[in-house]
Amino acid sequence: MEKWYEKGVKVNRLTIFSINHPRVTIILAFLVTLIFATQFPKIKTDTDPKNMLPATSDVRVYNDQMEKTFALHKDVIVLGIVNEKGIFNSSTLEKIERITDEIFRLKGVVLQDVISFTTADNVIAENNNLTVKPLLTGIPQTPEEMEVFRKNLFENPIWVGRLISQNGKTTAIYVPLEPGANGKEIAEKIKEIVKKEKGEEKYYVAGDPVARDTFGAEMFKQMALFSPLAGMIMMVALFLMFGNIPLVFSILAVAMMSVVWSMGLLIGLGFPVHIMSSMIPVFLMAISTDSIHIFNEFYFRFNEIKDKKRAVMDTINSVGAPVRYTALATAVGFGVLAIGGIIPVRVFGLFVAFGTMVIRLMSFTFLPAVMMLIKEDKLLKTSQRDSLEKGASVWLGKLGRFATGRPKLLLSVGFIFLVLAIVGITQIRVNNNMVKWFKEKSEVREADKIMNANLGGTSLGYLVAHANSEEAMKEPENLKYLEAVQKDLGNVELVGKTTSLADLVKRINRVMNQDNPPYEKIPEDKKVIAQYLFMFGMAAKPSTLDNLVDYPYQQANLMVQLKTWDAQAMQKVIDRVADYQKSHPNGNLKFKPAGIAYFNLVWNNEVLFDMVKMFGLALVLVFLILSFNFRSFKWGLVSYFPLIFTILLIYGVIGFIGKDFDMPISVLSTLSLGMAVDFAIHFVKRFKQRLAEENDLQKALIWTVERPGKGILRNAFLFSLAFSVMIFASLTPYITVGIFIAFLMTVSAFLTLIYLPAFIILFQKFLMPQKETT
């Protein structure tokens, strides 16, 4: 029997096996990994944010129902065409005609409902005839004909702001997509079509499906680029820290294995890889760096006792408990997401928790096995530098002495920061904007900006007016109410344009009355309105009417174009209508929001608040784990402080710099919890171990700052460095992740190393009443 066993040290049997059979262990680990890896070819991806909510959720059911009722399309690509000299020239119009015809040929396009000059219906009075025909039928050849075209276009309020900008320089082609068509692919084909056109026109491709599917495609590219890049940087940094290649590789191997196991399982179980689950690898890489603590301690131990097997055993014995508990805390922090209401969030939480458990397993099997295989002489050379008299440990010692020496000063400074953080948090703006997930100068954002500057707005919301009875939408008073609501909505900033049945009826009334402008109003007689609409339906494309009113004339669709994808803009519209209804009661009509702008609002809010709710729950659970871990609520409370302080500081900063509290940020909250708690656990556990050996409180604290503190700093540094490369990502959520993690790790490491000693000194009587004060 070995010495350590006789000493009664508790080491897991699995670990003993790994130490005794290192090669078998390593081979086994790789084999299991291989099995999980075989699932990868089955990968399915799903980048549609719609699937954040189940198809049976109220908002999706209602949206689907309204799309059916009004013959609307979920996904519409908008091709903007700009000619700075104006689009009213035959050359530009010919291009529009040609491009529209080409778009018809694209697979996945609903060609019957493409809206362009050549397809959009216009009602005009021509030689006392009533004509319903597309805006552009044949290219105007003479200046007179061009003028007629221009006049007809600008006189139709339905199309101004949709098909023509006020200044006459911008037009658009609206391209609805069949369900399941890929927005990015069709956008690329449209770009190819316009590329063939020569001339001074500029073309912009915008719309929700483009942003969504471009993001989806880009997301995987970024993940494929930055995960390995972060891994490589970590590798170099690890090599510089430990100077031993097998060690470096083994830390990375643990990260990779946990990624392969959890992603393999996820794919194997048939879950699609979603925006959320695509972040699992990054998160697991972050969490896996916890194994540094094992190496950190191993180096110290080996340097002290020069016996490899013994050093491994001692290391596992002393670091084992904190590693177990940090893994548990992290797993619980993520696992708690599994009881939330949002399926992709649940999947994300569960598989990160699973990956965390894999990391823990590897820490007690794979890592000891690797340590056993490293040649002793090499180890001796590189571990020499890890004694307390060298490197970072020296100034960490100083930091420890300062923290234990001036606890009150530190507390006051901390208090000031805490107050500032809370002030910052009150400034936080909850919002989400998918277009802003792209960088300022990106094509998607540029196109969206131009379109919103010139036309009514690329983000589309619906306000569906429901009446109590059929035929109600032919009543003059209801149409007038719609008109009034539209007028009132015009006061909402960022509402670019509204369209309803009222606009169409007014337009027909005018045309029927010799195109006389004063007749651009709702007629007083219901029968007249009914016959106008019937007449219009006798000649126009059915969809023009269907988009605005349902079959029984009981529901009318008020379309609201917004000049921003900010989810909150739709909230403003909804609030405004509610206010208007209060001040101008109308018993007949109830308004219900729908459309993509509304959907974005709902899913953002749901995901975000679900996250925040679960985060709150995780905070409580982590506190309980800490208390249980230290067998004391008091210690739980103290070790909780750096964690809470870090989180408050980060959100305070977010509030101050005016960054929107959006979906990516809310996801990161859970990470911050899982990570920040690690440092506190390591610190307190190791400190208590040390205190049992050495009776001087201050000395024990300084030792903890120097030695496990170095592990904490190494961990934080490695992390920050690796993730800071994400600053160069092309999608802003990844940049946010990079900055956030780097900031989080640095702050929480320092807060742990400074405030835990200060607190322990300050509250020693409270924490350790049985001990004599020093």
Partner: protein, 269 residues
């Protein structure tokens, strides 16, 4: 009476059969097209029917149009005149619509709106536009000039036990039609289309016509129930023809602006 009718049908079919057996081998695609047009759009000298249309959206909600349709052919010409009186929807009751159809040029159309007591001429630039909001276009309702299409016979096939030519019509000028080609299953006996498939510019099926019921009316085989389905949007239109009469001797006078406002009740009931 019923038996007599049946007998008449049998006799009339028998009388056509021999000519068909002979015709089968000699009919060219454009002859089939021409026979089809005659049987489907030009039966009799004139016609009257009560037409019941159901427009059904993908969600199952319905709009109804009920109308009396009068048609008169012009002798020795392909020109036709249509007079339509709307009974339903209720709030357009009394609306009338008149079309002069000219194969080689745009139709003339007039509409009378009783709520305004006003006749308005409606310019018709596009025969491809929907007929009263249904899945049928004006062209589907009144036919298309034969000279505009190229015809070929793709194959011969049985539908519901009936031998059919499968006629392919492709517009000579692609911009003159919504379809890039159309396949029609034409009954070799009656020359009525039993099924038609419309293919768009990408070669995808987008519209489907089905003759659900064919009856003999006064010796004229007539499609009395038909359906047009937009397979892309799942919108569909069901049409039933009732009280069909041929060769009533409808007055030319009826097809004038004057009668649009005050149609004689015997023609519209």
């Amino acid at each position: 009476m019923q038996n007599l009718k049946k007998l008449l049908i049998v006799i009339s079919s028998i009388s056509v059969v021999p000519s068909l057996i002979f015709a089968q081998k000699t009919l060219s695609p454009s002859e089939v097209a021409s026979q089809y047009q005659k049987a489907f759009y030009y039966s009799g000298k004139d016609m009257k029917a009560l037409v019941y249309m159901q427009l059904i959206e993908s969600g199952g909600k319905e709009r109804v149009r009920e109308l009396t349709m009068l048609r008169k052919n012009t002798e020795n010409s392909e020109e036709q005149k249509y007079f339509i009186y709307f009974h339903q929807p209720a709030d357009v009751e009394g609306m009338t619509f008149m079309v002069y159809k000219y194969p080689q040029k745009d139709d003339d159309r007039w509409l009378f709106m009783p709520a305004l007591d006003l006749v308005k001429r409606i310019a018709a630039n596009d025969r491809r536009s929907s007929f009263v909001g249904s899945d049928f276009t004006y062209e589907d309702v009144s036919g298309r000039d034969l000279a505009e299409d190229n015809f070929s016979i793709e194959k011969e096939e049985k539908i519901g036990g009936k031998d059919c030519y499968v006629l392919k019509s492709a517009p000579k000028n692609p911009k003159s039609a919504d379809y890039s080609y159309k396949l029609s299953w034409i009954d070799k006996v009656t020359f009525l289309p039993l099924k038609e498939e419309y293919y768009d510019i990408r070669g995808e099926l987008y519209k489907l016509f089905i003759a659900e019921e064919v009856k003999d009316v006064s010796g004229f085989p007539t499609v009395t129930k038909r359906k047009m389905v937009n397979v892309k949007s799942q919108h569909q239109t069901l049409v039933t023809f009732k009280d069909i009469q041929y060769n009533l001797g409808i007055d030319k006078e009826l097809f004038t602006e004057r009668y649009l406002k005050r149609p004689p009740s015997k023609w519209i009931k």
